[in-house]
C-alpha cells in the first residue's frame, strides 16, 4: 500500500512540479467565524480585519495570497506538512510555538479577557472561579493561561474553536470563558452575546503563557517569505494603510505598544 501511495504521490508530484514555479501562497485561516478578524460570509468568502491586512501586505509585496481554511487544532501541522504556507489566524507569538515554526513581527496585540454569564457575581480571580467550569479553545494561549492560573481549582472544558466556547457560554453550559479580549468583545456586542453574557475585563498579563503579540506563522525553512511579510508589515504601517483598515473595524489602535 505504501508503495502505491508513493507511486501516486510521485505521479501527482510530476504533474504539479511544472506548475510549482509561480505557485500562490496558501494562507491558512482557522475555519471558524472569528469576528472581527476572520469570518466567512454567506457567499463563502472570508473577510475581516486580518484578511484586509493580509491582502494589503500581499499586494504590497506582490504575493499571490489565497485564503485556505483549515482546522485550528491542526493548523501548525498543516503548515509544517506543507498544506499551507503561512498562518494568519490571530496566533500569538510564544516561545513554545517558536520551537516549531517561525513568526513574523507582531501585527497586533490583544490582552486575554474573561467573559461570564450575565447573572455571574463572582470575581475574575482563581478564588472567585473556584468550582466553576471555564471554556477555552484548544491549543490556544488562553487555554495555557487558564490551566496555569485556574486549572487547579476550576474545571476546564476544551473546545475546538473559541466560537463554540462562546456558544456554550450563551447556552449556560459553562460559567466563564477566557479569550482574546477584542474577539470576545465582538461576541459580547453581537445580538446573541448581548443578552446572555458580560465581560469581566482583561486578565493580568503573563508573558510565559500569553506571548508577545500576534504574528503570522511560517515554516522554519521559509525565511524568505517571512522576511517579505515583515517588510510588508513595515510598509503598510508607514504608509497609513494599516490605520485605515483598523479604523474600519475598531475605534482604537490595536497595534499595541
Amino acid at each position: 500500500m505504501k508503495l502505491k501511495l508513493m507511486a501516486l504521490a510521485a505521479v501527482a508530484a510530476l504533474g504539479l512540479g511544472t506548475a510549482a514555479m509561480a505557485a500562490p501562497v496558501k494562507v491558512g485561516v482557522a475555519a471558524e467565524p472569528y469576528p472581527p478578524f476572520t469570518s466567512p460570509d454567506a457567499s463563502g468568502h472570508w473577510s475581516g480585519w486580518e484578511i484586509d491586512i493580509m491582502n494589503a501586505i500581499c499586494t504590497d509585496q506582490k504575493l499571490d495570497c489565497v485564503v485556505t481554511p483549515v482546522a485550528w487544532d491542526g493548523i501548525i501541522p498543516a503548515l509544517t506538512a506543507g498544506q499551507i504556507d503561512m498562518i494568519i489566524s490571530s496566533m500569538s507569538i510564544t516561545k513554545e510555538r517558536e520551537k516549531v515554526i517561525n513568526f513574523s513581527d507582531k501585527y497586533y496585540e490583544t490582552p486575554a479577557a474573561l467573559a461570564v454569564t450575565k447573572d455571574a457575581t463572582f470575581k475574575p480571580t482563581a478564588e472567585g472561579l473556584k468550582g466553576k467550569t471555564i471554556g477555552v479553545e484548544t491549543g490556544s494561549i488562553n487555554k495555557d493561561y487558564a490551566e496555569k492560573f485556574f486549572g487547579k481549582t476550576s474545571t476546564l472544558k476544551v473546545y475546538q474553536t473559541q466560537d463554540l466556547a462562546n456558544q456554550d457560554l450563551a447556552a449556560g453550559r459553562i460559567d466563564a470563558t477566557v479569550g482574546d479580549e477584542f474577539a470576545l468583545q465582538a461576541f459580547l456586542d453581537s445580538a446573541s452575546g448581548k443578552d446572555c453574557c458580560k465581560s469581566m475585563g482583561a486578565l493580568p498579563y503573563d508573558s510565559a503563557t500569553l506571548g508577545t503579540g500576534i504574528g503570522a506563522g511560517f515554516r522554519k525553512s521559509d525565511t524568505a517569505l517571512r522576511d517579505k511579510f515583515n517588510k510588508g508589515i513595515k510598509d503598510i504601517r508607514a504608509n497609513g494603510t494599516y490605520d485605515k483598515i483598523t479604523k474600519k473595524y475598531f475605534s482604537f489602535d490595536i497595534y499595541g505598544g
Partner: protein
Amino acid sequence: MIAALRPMMKTHRLVMLGLAVGAVAWCAYALRWDWIPTYWNNGLILTGLETTLSLLAFSWTIGLFFAIWLGLAQASGPWYLALPAKGFCSLIRGTPLLLQLWFFYYGIGSTFQQFPWIRHSWAWTYLREAWPYALMTLTLSFAGYEGEVMRGAFLGVPKGQLESARAFGMTRFTILRRIWLPQAVQRVLPTLGGETVLQLKATPLVATITVVDLYNVSQTVRQDTYVIYEPLLLLAAVYMAITGVIVLIFRWLEHRVPSKVA
C-alpha cells in the same frame, strides 16, 4: 503451539515480520515518546480509555435493546409502528453521525437554558455536560443501524418455525422469546461483531463536542507538545488492540452459540 506458528514459517512472512519489528523499533527509537509518562501519570490516558470503552459499552447495550423493537416493528408490526421505525432507521442511516452529534449538542442542547424550569431542575446538571449528548447520539445511531440488521434477521427465520410454534398454541410473546428472537440473534451474531467495531470507530467523533475520549486525549497531547504523528500512531495502535479484543469476544460467542440453524 508449534502448529499454530507453522503458517508464519514462510520466508516472505518472516521477512515481513522482520520489517514490522524493524518499523516498530525504528518508531520507538527515532520518534518522540517522551510525552507518554506525563499523560500517563496525570491520568488523562486512562480517563480517555475509560470514556471510550464506557461509551461503546452503554451505547451498544441500550442501542441493541431499541434495535430489537425497531427490527420487530418493521418485520411484523402494524403500519403505524412499521412506518415510523423505517423512517427512523432511514433518517439515522442517511445522515452523517457528525451532523447528528452537532445537531443534538449545539442545536437542541443550547435551547434548554432559556427555560427556567429546566435550569432549576435536577436534569440541568446532566444537560450541561457533553457526555449525555454523546451517549444519546451514539445510542440512537447504533439503534438505527442495528434496527435494519435485526429486521433482516427476523425476516430470515424460516416461516415453518413460527407456524409450528403457533400450532402448539404458544402466545405471540412466547414465540418471540423462545423461537423468533433466539434464532434472529443467532443470525446476526457474525454481523454484530463487525457492527460493534464500526461503533467503536464512530466514538472518536464525540471529541468534537468536548467529551474527553481517547481521541481527544491524543489531540490534547498534539496541541500541548506540537508532536504531530506519534500520538496518532499510538492511538491507532490502541484502537487496533480494542478491535482485536472485540473480534476475539465475538468469535468466542459464536463458538458458544450452536451455529446450525434448523
